[in-house]
């Protein structure tokens, strides 16, 4: 029997579901708390593999912690879900957008600027309303709807005050006239597993479940399936959630998530996503 490990920093609903799903098929995953971990980068890789099994499911909530851990374990020859390349693209909205454009996946019009001056020029060209997003960030944090130049001024000035180099990258997207929902499509390997609508809560235009968004089942049409597979492939494939919105003319992909929170999707669709992830991990495990 192959051995896999689950690396985490916090046991959420998803991690528990993964543990239970693997135990149901007689697999007892090694549970590794990343907060207690250290790795000797020059250690004999065969020793590292004894500790982590033949495949690693990396589930850290902290993006940078997970990313660097993935790089380290991959360098020792371990397959990690998701891979370093996929995690680094999906964890950065600009890199994701660039990958989607390159693969010809429809996505919202996006501008990038690197100073306050550039940011205003970008907004003048893109037009209002626009959406400003941090290139690295989750759960809808710091995502702002900019309605006019005055609100842009306030938001960009406050960004300048935040002493974080990544927040000095200004990423703007057109505001897509969409219903008050987006679509989340779960892709595992070459297969679309499930899809849900995520409705934005009252008093918020964002649809993130972490912000109180509510998941409802969504049927996977041929169009959605094709789009999701193309988007997943564009970022390198793996266990991914493709988020898209219904613009008046077509469906646009705005994000691909790499450390997927699938509780909402599970409760909306009753698909055993955890089991599908475990099956996939066993499939990619070293022979």
């Amino acid at each position: 029997m192959k051995e896999i490990s689950l690396i985490y920093d916090r046991i959420r609903w998803e991690e528990k579901a993964l543990i239970q799903a693997s135990r149901r098929i007689g697999l007892n995953p090694k549970l590794v708390d990343s907060k207690e971990l250290y790795i000797n980068t020059m250690e004999d890789p065969s020793k590292t593999r004894v500790k982590f099994g033949e495949a690693v499911i990396q589930r850290c909530i902290s993006y940078f912690r997970g990313l660097h851990l993935t790089a380290t374990l991959e360098s020792m020859g371990l397959p990690v879900i998701n891979s370093f390349n996929v995690s680094s693209i999906c964890g950065n909205k600009l890199l994701t957008t660039l990958a989607l454009i390159k693969a010809g996946v429809p996505s919202p019009k996006t501008f990038v600027a690197f100073t306050e001056e550039g940011a205003f020029k970008a907004l003048e060209n893109l037009g209002y309303p626009a959406v400003m997003k941090p290139v690295v960030g989750s759960w809808g944090r710091l995502i702002a709807l900019i309605k006019d130049r005055d609100s842009a001024q306030g938001l960009i000035e406050s960004r300048k005050e935040m002493k974080n180099a990544l927040l000095q990258i200004y990423y703007f997207q057109e505001y897509v006239e969409r219903p008050p929902r987006d679509i989340r499509i779960m892709v595992i390997g070459n297969e679309v597993i499930a899809a849900s609508y995520r409705y934005s809560p009252q008093n918020d235009w964002r649809t993130n479940v972490a912000r109180g968004g509510v998941s409802k089942p969504c049927s996977v049409t041929h169009e959605l399936e094709e789009l999701a597979l193309k988007a997943a492939e564009a970022v390198g494939g793996g266990v991914l959630a493709v988020d898209c919105m219904e613009s008046p003319s077509e469906i646009l992909v705005h994000e691909v998530n790499s450390t997927v929170e699938f509780r909402g999707l599970c409760s909306a669709t009753h698909v055993d996503i955890a089991k599908k992830i475990i099956d996939y991990a066993v499939g990619v495990a070293r022979g």
Partner: protein, 83 residues
């Protein structure tokens, strides 16, 4: 059966009934912040978060290799947290 015996019988039945309803938690720890009782479920996985019902403080349950349970203040949400 006199009244006292009847009362005992009822009490006993009731406590038995209650015990079938509520699975007793394996462990009760004291909240390090406010000293309230914190119930740790018996199927806890090291790394899970429990919240104090009284003061709302979040703790990470840490289970060591010898099965010892310890409560550690949960990590505060970082700016790179999320999916």
């Amino acid at each position: 059966m006199d009244f006292k015996q009847y009362e005992r019988f009822i009490r006993k039945s009731l406590s038995f009934y209650k015990s079938t309803l509520r699975r007793a938690p394996t462990l009760i720890e004291k909240c390090p912040e406010c000293d309230a009782d914190l119930e740790i479920p018996d199927d806890v996985v090291s790394g899970e978060i429990v919240s104090c019902p009284d003061c709302g403080m979040d703790y990470e349950v840490h289970v060591s290799e010898d099965g010892k349970v310890e409560l550690r203040p949960a990590e505060i949400e970082g700016e790179d947290w999320g999916e």
